[in-house]
Symmetry: C2
Amino acid sequence: MSEHDIFVKSVNRNTLSKQVIEQIVQLLASGQVKPGDKLPPEMELMEKLGVSRPVLREALSSLETMGVITRKTRGGTYFNDKIGSEPFSVMLALSIDNLPAIIEARMALELGLVTIAAEKITDEQLEQLKETIDMIADSEDDNYGVYDKRFHKIIALSANNPVVEGMIFSLLITHEKMDRLIRTRDREITVEHHLAIYHALKKRDPYEAFEQMYRHLSFVREKLLSYEQQWLENTTVLTSDPM
Amino acid sequence: MSEHDIFVKSVNRNTLSKQVIEQIVQLLASGQVKPGDKLPPEMELMEKLGVSRPVLREALSSLETMGVITRKTRGGTYFNDKIGSEPFSVMLALSIDNLPAIIEARMALELGLVTIAAEKITDEQLEQLKETIDMIADSEDDNYGVYDKRFHKIIALSANNPVVEGMIFSLLITHEKMDRLIRTRDREITVEHHLAIYHALKKRDPYEAFEQMYRHLSFVREKLLSYEQQWLENTTVLTSDPM
DNA sequence: TATATTATGATTGTAAGACAAATTCGAACG
DNA sequence: CGTTCGAATTTGTCTTACAATCATAATATA
């Protein structure tokens, strides 16, 4: 408990609303309330915490945008079951113009992830992976982006780690944007890469899983960045030193 | 611009304050304002955005806890230079009881990171890495945790990626907690591992960098988890099915 | 003139009260 | 027993007011 304090305290400066945030977070961290539980109505919380309504609402607003709680008019306030992705979305919104950074971040995470996955993936999940590969191989047109995404999602889930999930899922949001960027798909290459990763995972070999994923993501990255490059060349870009 | 909209819109439900959050974030994302810029005073923002002060303040409060802006009484409101870590800290505060998950997340990220680092690290940063290793090797007592942390921090920075930085820095916050968990340090092993990573990075060999980092982090993880295990065994734990 | 000191006022922080909107819940009615 | 309508609870928004802080400028002092 005391160790949590110094951890969270470092964020706090002063301001009542921040103290309220901390108190509510501690309520969860200390296990006094469980995810899904309902919070008391604002009026009641005001009294218990001894703060005014604006202060309380500022705190609740912060907690909501961070995905800790959900509020419904008249319905009350509830602690969320899963916390993780929301806070990230703001950061990504700010970095969305920096596509290379996002691609790289995804690459870094997935590279590490596949290693963990090699240790923890279940047979059932392996089966699901195989299915997505078959779907891509059997697809007639080039609209297999869904299965591509699912492939990576299964690997993310196999790590069975809420922290990692929160990070990777937010990054996968950008998958659609990347999808739109791709003009010519390479089904054969994708299938081959995915299969190689699949087999490495099946062997539970973290090193080979890494190598295959690295090969795959390097290929994807090259491709995306080349498109990005073309896109930049064909677009008027505002720089600090326009010519 | 329109593409950003659909991305951020998915987060927004209704509520004025959320719309205000989005507008201010877009201000940054679209490059109309730069990090470090000062925001207009609240009174002015109220008029421009056409909302009341509580609503505006709820939005600003959210943005502040997410580390997008900083407010000082009387000093005004400023956009932060670096955004990334703060939002995470709450999530970590909630996951802090789940140490294995955090360790694993750190492991996954750093594994991917070192691969990127192998491609992008500068000679200067390599030199800095070497220094931390020497510091550890030359340290008399076992309090070289600072240099251990710096070692990993340099690698994180070498990726030169704001998104990754935001993630890894928040995870490194837990480094202190882990430090406290460690009772017997293994200086020789640490130095050897760090050196191996350093040499791999110097060779710009992503595969070897990965392998060495994997070896290192696996060792650290085993150690931490065994401590965690002992700690759990000596502690009364509340489970959903107490015996 | 330069420096220190004070005082003003702008800006964020907190509080209280009121009304609006929405939706859940219950009561009345068929 | 089911349906519909109304009322009350809870969140959402606005207005006003005051407190606290401290940046800046005006003032006084060397």
